[in-house]
């Protein structure tokens, strides 16, 4: 069975209202924001600065080690984010709840301003694809910095991996096969059995 999840314009707007406005609280004394009752401070950060973390690390240790560190941070965000949402997605069978939790990834990425995406999941093959037709916020920021030859969003790749794995109880790895930051028409993250290093990214 194949699943496809997407948001309408109205749903994207509603998720922005919920995730980025209604659930965000400001502590006037601290001048710090908090999200959804979490004790961890939350702040607004330019997407280009997230890209800068990758770019600066790349200059020192090269693409793949930098990619992995960024991916791991995104992965933790994805797994923990799905864990928070998991509490809500309890109706119906466990399988249905897992699928709904995966689907809710579209709401979070759009609502948080990371990018509006569609998620496709094929139960039979186990293949999952997250597509951001207009690009992720980080990819769009990278594009503004100038053309690059390597994908710019390992953080998002890690996030979608973490969210997918936590939702479905699987262990998938994701590769960013398209990135607007290097001139592609969208940002595309596809699950892969084994991530191969590309020679042109190493040299």
């Amino acid at each position: 069975m194949k699943h496809r999840f997407a948001l309408s314009d109205e749903e994207s707007q509603a998720q922005f209202q919920l995730v980025s406005k209604d659930l965000l609280e400001h502590n006037v004394k601290q001048g710090v924001n908090y999200w959804a009752g979490s004790p961890y401070p939350t702040m607004l950060l330019w997407a280009g600065r997230v890209y800068d973390f990758l770019r600066v690390m790349e200059e020192i240790v090269g693409f793949y080690p930098a990619h992995r560190q960024s991916y791991l941070v995104g992965y933790r965000s994805g797994t923990d984010g799905a864990a928070v949402s998991e509490v809500i997605e309890t109706k119906g069978s466990k399988k249905a709840a897992r699928t709904r939790l995966l689907a809710s990834g579209t709401s979070i990425t759009a609502g948080a301003g990371w990018g509006r995406c569609t998620i496709e999941y094929d139960e039979d093959s186990g293949k999952a694809i997250w597509e951001f037709p207009e690009g992720t916020a980080i990819g769009l920021a990278a594009r503004l910095e100038g053309a690059r030859t390597k994908p710019a969003c390992p953080f998002i790749a890690g996030f979608v991996a973490g969210w997918t794995n936590r939702s479905l109880g699987v262990e998938l790895e994701f590769e960013e096969t398209k990135c607007v930051g290097r001139g592609d028409d969208c940002c595309l993250f596809e699950s892969v059995a084994f991530l191969h290093a590309k020679k042109e990214y190493v040299e």
Partner: protein, 146 residues
Amino acid sequence: MPVSASRAASISDPVHVVMVKAPQGIEERLREAMEPLRKVQGFVSAAVTRRDGLVIHHTFPSARAAAGLSAMAAAMVGASRAAGAELGIGLPTYGFIYFEDGILLIQDAGPQAILACLLELGANIGYVITRISRISDQVREALEDL
């Protein structure tokens, strides 16, 4: 979802994602390739790591120990390559670092992998490099078939 806020519910352990499963057959070939290293005097442990630092195969007592070394080895190789480019002296072939209580030897093992080997201080480095070079070729060949 903001990264830090999402950590409120549970703190996931990223260690479970730092070990990748090589397909069956490849795993066996890597194990066989590494086996001769165990007979080298002064050998402690070794790991085959993906270029991004994820462990593919190792002989360490725990996956956690192998994961840490592998991530660092990948970063060292990456930094060495950047240094080679910056200095205009080409690509690194292998490197070893003497510590107070051991030696770390790192070598490229083809486009996909890096071989990191931990040795005792008294190990014969020249001999180990010879062995490591041969094993690196075998690792490269095994991973080319992926």
